[in-house]
Amino acid sequence: MDKTQNNKAWFLVLPVLALVAFSAVIPLMTVVNYSLQDTFGNNEFFWAGLEWFEDVLDSDRIKDALGRQILFTGIILAIEVPLGIFVALNMPKKGFWASFCLVLMALPLLIPFNVVGTIWQIFGRVDIGLLGHTLAAMGVDYNYTNDVFDAWATVIIMDVWHWTSLVALLSYAGLQSIPEAYYQAAKIDQAGRLAVFRYIELPKMQGVLLIAILLRFMDSFMIYTEPFVVTGGGPGNATTFLSIDLVKQAIGQFDLGPAAAFSLIYFLVILLISWVFYTVMTNLDKRDGV
């Protein structure tokens, strides 16, 4: 749509600016402030320059957490995106069963994060959980509090359980927008199932899939509550992702300087990757002439 040039539109944006300035800019400046100073308590601060940033960039602890974070995000994206598309392709197109599936699928999305953690914490326990108990009965040595692999598996399955529906619902919305005529044309051309998917369904889902990947990337990169409730970051540090590590440092140990420097680097990493996604997305929008 061609938009009119009008700088008075700024007035319409002012309320948002005021609110976000209060709830984002001021706190962010506090973080920047801490990241450049050191303190011995008593609210006496002195200039530390870029020392904290150098420390953080050198520290193995944060590199390890970042590595685990990237691995986690990579794995859940690799599972959730194809699985979500697959589920969307199999969903009923309309009628009672479509609504039925939609409502049940959206259910995990609306459960508070720590309840999601609690559900899986209970579900995986060997003594009282269905999953843990069944696995133990089958002779599998499963214990997510002691075994690194089991802890990872539990956290990943939990995330797949929690968020695959988001990808599926988005893909479903994309599929719904394909006119019936496209499928008829494909039939006349005797296109196979794979060809229909590759040349009709996938291009139509492209836009929504990018949104899905962007949202899943951002949210999994800041995941905190769910793994924290289930494993507490353990065993050892095996499931300590970036946010968990950050909270440990900032609130647990009150190392404000390093925590603040860490926060800023963390935020910048997310921003950078999201910016790439966003640019690709807006360019796609333009190409389709929306």
């Binding site: 948002v16 209060f22 962010l28 199999n90 609306l110 720590n114 309840v115």
Partner: protein, 267 residues
């Protein structure tokens, strides 16, 4: 043949989604002794005592009331500020609009863990610590950008000619916006409200950091059972089930818009 295959896939997927939830419901209907001593797929000794505990104890049910209050406040605030902004983004080009839009989105990308401590200090210093409005404002951090994004998508779908005709007919901007424009994007507003509700309802890190007693959310109250003498599994499970109920109700009401909503109006 294909219909049958897809029914099996959907059946398995829904089973995967529902079994953990079923297990929680199952546990909430058992007594603690039954939970720890026997292992059964159905409650042998059906009891509603866990629910009674929660619904009669103020320290429990106040958690629900607190959560409800700040979530509703957040939805109202987010929509009020997001509506005019989304209109501006969807209709006008102005200095720095693209940068501003991306900057707004960056707030959706900010990890709550980064903001927890500064928020605590900010809200303590202005005397808002442990109030509902503090949590509602803090959640605006990620809900306002999202609401603007969703609403902008829906508003783009309304042809500009409608605005122009209304102005020619002598409508002032506020009157046009409320009388003509809002009804046209009603479903978009509903979807935005749904998402604000959802993300505010499920968030715990910020709402726990910013509250102590008066505005403590239910999700934070739940952690109490974990540390209390022994584990009160039954009550924990019942509290969990009750946090799922409001979400389930909301989903039921918006079921026909869910799919389009999740695509943020961009299909």
């Amino acid at each position: 043949m294909r219909i049958k295959g897809s029914a099996i896939v959907m059946g398995l997927y829904l089973l995967f989604l529902l079994v953990p939830i079923y297990w929680l419901v199952n546990m909430s209907l058992k007594t603690n002794t039954e939970i720890t001593s026997t292992f059964s797929l159905f409650p042998n000794d059906l009891t509603f005592a866990n629910y009674v505990t929660i619904l009669t104890d103020p320290s429990w049910y106040n958690g629900y009331i607190n959560s409800m209050i700040y979530v509703s406040m957040n939805v109202v605030i987010s929509l009020t500020v997001a509506l005019p902004a989304a209109y501006a983004f969807s209709r006008y080009r102005f200095m720095g609009d693209k940068h501003l839009f991306f900057w707004l989105l960056t707030n959706r990308m900010a990890p709550p863990a980064v903001f927890a401590l500064p928020f605590f200090q900010l809200y303590s210093s202005v005397g808002l610590f442990d109030t509902h409005i503090a949590v509602a404002l803090a959640h605006c951090l990620f809900n306002v950008p999202l609401a603007v994004w969703i609403l902008e998508g829906f508003m783009r779908g309304v042809p500009k000619e409608i605005d122009e005709t209304a102005y020619i007919d002598g409508y002032s901007f506020p009157r046009f916006f409320v009388k003509i424009f809002l009804p046209l994007i009603a479903s978009g507003v509903g979807v935005a409200a749904f998402f604000c509700f959802m993300f505010s309802w499920v968030e715990l890190l910020l709402s726990r950091t910013l509250t102590a007693t008066h505005a403590k959310p239910i999700a934070a109250t739940m952690t109490r059972t974990v540390s209390a003498s022994g584990m009160d599994w039954g009550v924990l499970a019942a509290a969990g089930v009750l946090t799922i109920v409001p979400g389930a109700l909301v989903i039921y009401f918006v079921r026909n818009y869910i799919a389009k909503g999740f695509a943020l109006g961009r299909v």
